[in-house]
């Protein structure tokens, strides 16, 4: 099995890359994909935490399902937004998305 610290390191690295992606990109799709990376980091951290520290065979399935649901809904929303924004010819630069305020 992988070492717990290695798993935490992977999770931390993915989280840092995701935060960097959200902070440095202006493209709407890349920002959403960076948020997906943050969710993957939280999945790995949750599973490794439950496997090593809570019980040897534990999965933390309830917590994991909630993370999965958020990640899946985000991807579906991303596709819906992408297709509609592409069809109406809208810019993907998030600094110009002022019309989305309501």
């Amino acid at each position: 099995m992988l070492d717990f610290l290695v798993l935490m390191g992977i999770s931390l690295a993915l989280f840092a890359i995701g935060i960097a992606g959200v902070a440095t990109n202006k493209h709407f799709i890349i920002i959403m994909l960076s948020i997906e990376l943050i969710l993957v980091a939280s999945m790995i951290a949750a599973v490794s935490y439950f496997s090593y520290l809570v019980s040897p065979g534990g999965t933390g399935i309830v917590l994991l399902i909630s993370i999965w649901s958020v990640a899946a809904v985000e991807i579906i929303t991303l596709v819906a937004f992408y297709v509609y924004m592409k069809h109406i010819g809208y810019d993907f630069d998030v600094t110009r998305l002022s019309k989305l305020k309501w």
Binding site: A13, A20, T59, A72, I76, V79, I88
Partner: protein, 158 residues
């Protein structure tokens, strides 16, 4: 039997794939790299002996949502010609051989399955699988809700 360098290679490749998602200039490449991140996270679950979680991760995220995302974005980008076909074929062969080799060294902890179709069907409707039905319901509600929200946003924008 587990090779000592595989966890290090797995950690390095998942971090590299995640960095490619953020640094990629084309959206389609970023989405493909994200699918690779999902696959490698499923491999990490396998290394933690969580067979069911790895299977769900592969089925839902790699097989379902990543394919959905790639198809949607590739259809909108209007690319008809295949770019760098030899590189794509070589990478596919390397990925297939590498994944097959990796799976050979994983611990074989899959319990023996029953061949009796009635007992398998009866076990599927037990409370142990309630979280699977909950996940399916949540995904379905999320899909419908996100489409409705997107339609509302488009009406506001246009």
């Amino acid at each position: 039997m587990a090779l000592p360098y595989i966890p290090i290679a797995l950690a390095a490749s998942i971090v590299a794939s995640a960095a490619f998602v953020v640094a990629s200039r084309r959206v389609l490449h970023a989405v493909a790299a994200l699918a690779l991140v999902f696959t490698e996270s499923a491999l990490i679950f396998l290394y933690l002996n969580q067979i069911l979680l790895a299977l769900l991760q592969l089925l839902v995220f790699v097989g379902g949502l990543s394919t959905y995302l790639i198809v949607a974005i590739a259809a909108e980008e209007h690319i008809n010609k295949m770019e760098n076909a030899p590189v794509f074929i070589a990478l596919s062969v390397i990925f297939f051989v590498g994944a097959s080799t990796l799976l050979t060294y994983l611990p074989a902890t899959i319990p023996p399955q029953s061949n009796d179709i009635v007992s398998v069907a009866a076990s599927v409707f037990q409370a142990d699988y309630a979280f699977l039905y909950l996940a399916v319901l949540l995904l379905f509600a999320g899909a419908i809700g996100s489409t409705l929200v997107a339609r509302r946003v488009v009406k506001l924008v246009t």
